[in-house]
């Protein structure tokens, strides 16, 4: 009973987090590639309630920033210019869920641009980029996981259920894939592709590579479950009554794997989000100016950014609640389905 509560709690937390990312257009005040060339590397703005005279304001406000004389990236707050935040403002046009055209945003300010998490070297709002970047990275995680699980399920089921030479061949291939240095594979793959890869192509390339390399581990797990399930008494009985292979698999064997698959999904999603981030960090992912969590962090490859602008690290922190949510979900799932041992070694292999 207790476990059930933990499970729903994690699920709700994840739901909220994903909801925010899904509705990035609404929560983000600006477009992710909108440049404000006047304010590169602006530090995060503080949201104030109390002004310089000590008066409390119900409506929060920010101070606009002013560039220090002769400087490129040193700003100071201009206390003379408080700018109250407005809520449910209309602004930059976007499509909610990729479908509904809208211009409504949760917040904005009247005269200045609000930078909750600062701006990057082009004056783009890090907060907006973080939200939109989440769409790319999480979607890559979901699709990659879906791809890997579907492939893993079918291959594992065939290997486990039919056994014999099919099992041998499929499992040897799986081991081969587990041993592949996939980062180099991707480098090699990229070299064969046309020079200019659009954001969409690059995105699907990443998913294809993640899925193609990732199917082996779930396939082995599914095979193990199928191997034991097909020897159960009720399966044998059904077979004795003349059930076909397809029927047996669909009705009796594969449902046994659902718990393993769910747990695998909860483990694989963050792992593949991380994979996407790694690839984008190295410049193999979605190209600029489309944000993803990986290429938000790739700025940090420069020493000067590393030591000068601390808010460029924030995207790395933002992924923590997501990963925590998934790991919590995975462990509560594991406790729920006590019957199955879950191979958790995969977690340690984040790259």
């Amino acid at each position: 009973m207790k476990n059930w509560h933990a499970f729903t709690r994690w699920l709700i937390a994840l739901g909220v987090l994903h909801g925010i990312v899904l509705c990035a257009g609404f929560f983000a005040p600006y477009g992710p590639s909108e440049q404000d060339r006047k304010s590169p590397y602006l530090p995060p703005m503080r949201v104030h309630f109390v002004d310089g005279q000590g008066h409390f304001h119900l409506r929060p406000f920010v101070y606009s920033f002013r560039l220090r004389d002769g400087s490129f990236d040193q700003y100071e707050e201009d206390a003379a210019k408080p700018d109250p935040l407005r809520f449910f403002v209309s602004g930059w046009r976007y499509r909610l869920f990729g479908l509904l055209p809208s211009g409504l945003h949760l917040f904005g300010a009247e005269t200045t641009r609000v930078y909750l998490l600062g701006s990057d070297g082009y004056g783009r709002d890090q907060f907006s980029r973080l939200l939109f970047g989440g769409q790319v990275s999480l979607l890559a995680g979901f699709l990659g996981t879906g791809f890997a699980l579907v492939a893993g399920l079918s291959i594992g089921a065939v290997a486990g259920y039919y056994g014999g030479w099919r099992d041998d061949v499929l499992m040897r291939v799986a081991e081969l894939f587990l041993a592949l240095p996939w980062l180099y594979l991707l480098f090699a793959l990229r070299a064969f592709l046309p020079l200019a890869v659009g954001p969409l192509q690059a995105f699907f390339l990443i998913i294809a590579v993640i899925g193609a390399v990732g199917w082996a581990r779930p396939a082995r797990l599914v095979r193990a479950v199928v191997l034991s399930a097909k020897e159960r008494d009720f399966v044998r009985a059904a077979r004795g009554f003349g059930a076909t292979d397809i029927y047996l698999l669909r009705r009796h064997v594969l449902p046994e794997t659902s718990s393993v698959l769910l747990t695998q999904a909860a483990i694989l999603i963050p792992q593949y989000v991380m994979a996407e981030m790694t690839l984008s960090f190295l410049g193999l992912g979605v190209p600029e100016p489309v944000p993803s969590w990986g290429n938000l962090l790739s700025n940090l490859q420069q020493y000067s950014v590393l030591v000068s602008y601390w808010w460029m690290y924030l995207p790395a922190l933002a992924i923590v609640p997501f990963f925590l949510g998934y790991l919590g979900l995975a462990s509560s799932l594991q406790e729920r389905g006590e019957a199955y041992k879950i191979e958790r070694r995969g977690l340690g292999r984040l790259t």
Partner: protein, 599 residues
């Protein structure tokens, strides 16, 4: 076996003792020969007096490939070779004018075809052997030998014919040119004089390219530069020591260089260079990016950072204007039709926000440019060149004139399309190792989006980028930069001439592809033989005007030369010409500890 080895060793010991003995015997003879040519004509350098001794550490971005100037092609090798070799006439990096070096004087005949150079007397190579006219004759013989494949050879072909060299007497040589040469005595800068006594044998055996590696240079090579080889540790460092025979002195007559040792550390990249400097492991730093410069400036831990002003590097965007090959796809042909349209290129130039490039890519430490002659080049820029401000309206008008139109998408975004109704989409290559240029490309991408062009930025490793641009020619557009090595615009001759290898938008043409390229070729050829600065300047001004009208290269910005040195380094005066900091390495010195404390 063991016994025989011991015998062997004792034999060698004996031999070396014998040798030592011979050396001691020989010593008075050497001394007397030194007395014979006492009138060693040292060059007295003006400038702040320094203190002798100490070492200077420089972090180098990677290991030099060779110390042999005949095969050195990479910038690191050239940087090291520059402090080990010397030339006949030298360009002063601060004044950008020529100065006597190994040649104490020179004379140009009235017809401009004969250069008579008189060598300094009594000066010696770093191994103590004297320099004479024969070395100079030998040097140019080697440079001009086609079998040697020296990169210097191209510079010595004037009017289609190699320069000929003739010895007049032991100290005098005459260079005969086939045609008058506008560059004049600047020609000799950077041409290291080679030691005939060491290189004649390998030259005759055809082995010149194999010698002078980092491992063997100490024994096989001698130079006339301020430093000579001492020690090389593969993958770590190269230690040079003071050349005791160096031919320059300060105003007090103290022989230069001041430093005892010059150490080059090998580090993998620019960030590592900054870290070495910041931690005090290296003493000077140059070729700094603006971001790293401001990081170091903010910390100011016992060093001084200097902005030497705009340099000779120019960054530009160019489109693929090569004649389409037989294999070219129809898509490529269509794109090239846009690129070939002058108004299209002018529109792009009008849409580019150069001011933002200077501010965001160079943190304001740079200058927007509209022409090939970089602002660091004080004498040659064309002041009359138009500097049109950014104007999207003008860009749109130009595109409309050229037959382009706009179609509106569902979300109100407009897409530029050509006369056939095809959307204008192309990609821009940048070098993945250059963050500044990647930034420029990203800014241009956003600028052109406002014209409805869809642009992809493709970062590529520099080597494969160069391959695409000059060999396979499979690209749409590219952002690149060139740093001229001299303030004379002739150093960029291969960019100007349609037959040049770095005429990037359409390199190495057999015949000029367009009338305006033919016109530029004619102007450049003409200024080559023009004799006065004014004549040459006029011709160059015209060539610059044509270039800025036709926009084969869309010039963007030129970064400042940024450098830094520890407070204890004296005579630190970075120049805008390469080598930015080490150009006066013979005068650099370490201030004493007490002096350091007071500053």
């Amino acid at each position: 076996m063991r016994i025989s080895r011991a015998k062997f060793q004792s034999f060698w010991m004996l031999l070396s003792l014998l040798l030592l003995f011979v050396v001691f015997l020989g010593h008075p003879a050497i001394a007397s020969s030194q007395q014979r040519d006492t009138k060693e004509e040292l060059l007295a350098l003006p400038g702040e007096l320094g203190r002798s001794g100490g070492r200077l550490v420089v972090a180098l971005r990677g290991e030099p490939k060779t110390l042999n100037p005949l095969i050195a092609a990479d910038s690191r090798s050239r940087e090291v070779i520059a402090v080990m070799q010397a030339d006949l006439v030298h360009i002063n990096r601060a004044t950008q004018l020529t100065e006597p070096a190994l040649a104490k004087s020179w004379k140009i005949s009235p017809d401009g075809l004969q250069y008579t150079l008189v060598l300094r007397q009594g000066i010696k190579f770093s191994d103590g052997q004297p320099l004479g006219a024969d070395d100079v004759i030998f040097t140019f013989q080697v440079y001009l030998d086609e079998n040697v494949h020296a990169p210097q050879r191209d510079l010595l072909i004037v009017g289609g014919k190699p320069i000929t060299v003739r010895k007049v007497d032991g100290q005098t040589v005459v260079f005969q040119l086939a045609k008058t040469y506008g560059v004049g005595e600047r020609l000799f800068d950077g041409l290291a004089i080679l030691p005939k006594h060491l290189l004649e044998k390998p030259y005759q055996e055809g082995k010149l390219a194999q010698i002078g590696t980092l491992e063997t240079a100490a024994k096989q090579w001698a130079g006339l530069g301020p430093f000579r080889m001492k020690e090389y540790v593969a993958g770590q460092r190269l230690i040079l020591e003071r050349n005791p025979y160096y031919w320059k002195a300060d105003t007090q007559g103290n022989r230069l260089p001041y430093l005892d040792e010059l150490v080059f550390l090998f580090v993998p990249n620019a960030d590592a260079q900054v870290l070495k400097f910041e931690s005090g492991e290296s003493d000077v730093i140059s070729q700094l990016g603006a971001e790293n410069f401001s990081v170091l400036s903010r910390q100011q831990k016992g060093y001084v950072m200097t902005d030497a002003g705009p340099g000779l590097e120019y960054n530009f965007l160019f489109f693929n204007l090569n004649a389409p090959g037989e294999k070219a796809s129809s898509e490529m042909r269509r794109k090239q039709e846009w690129f070939r349209e002058v108004k299209f290129r002018q529109a792009v130039s009008n849409a580019v926000d150069r001011e933002a490039i200077v501010r965001l890519a160079y943190q304001g430490r740079g200058t927007a440019i509209w022409g090939l002659v970089a602002p660091g080049n004080r004498r040659w820029g064309n002041e009359k060149l138009a500097h049109p401000a950014r104007s999207l309206d003008r860009a749109r008008a130009l595109l409309r004139e050229a037959g382009f139109s706009w179609s509106n998408g569902p979300d109100g975004e407009s897409t530029l399309q050509d006369a056939q109704g095809k959307p204008v989409e192309f990609s821009i290559l940048t070098s993945s190792s250059n963050a500044d240029r990647a930034k420029m490309a990203a800014l241009i991408q956003d600028d052109l989006k406002q014209l409805g062009m869809r642009v992809q930025v493709v970062p590529l490793e520099f080597r494969s980028l160069l391959d695409r641009v000059t060999q396979s020619k499979e690209y749409d557009a590219c952002v690149m930069g060139i740093a001229s090595f001299d303030a004379d615009p002739n150093s960029d001759i291969n960019v100007w001439l349609s037959s040049g290898g770095t005429h990037l938008w359409n390199p190495s043409q057999a015949y000029p592809a367009t009338p305006w390229e033919a016109e530029i070729d004619r102007l450049i050829e003409e200024q080559m033989s023009a004799r006065t600065f004014e004549q040459r300047k006029k011709l160059y001004d015209r060539a610059q005007e044509i270039l800025s009208e036709k926009q084969p290269m869309i010039f963007l910005a030129s970064p400042d030369i940024l450098a830094g040195a520890k407070n204890s380094v004296g005579n630190f005066h970075p120049a805008v010409l390469e080598p930015y900091v080490l150009w006066n390495v013979e005068q650099l010195y370490r201030k004493s500890a007490t002096e350091n404390g007071t500053r």
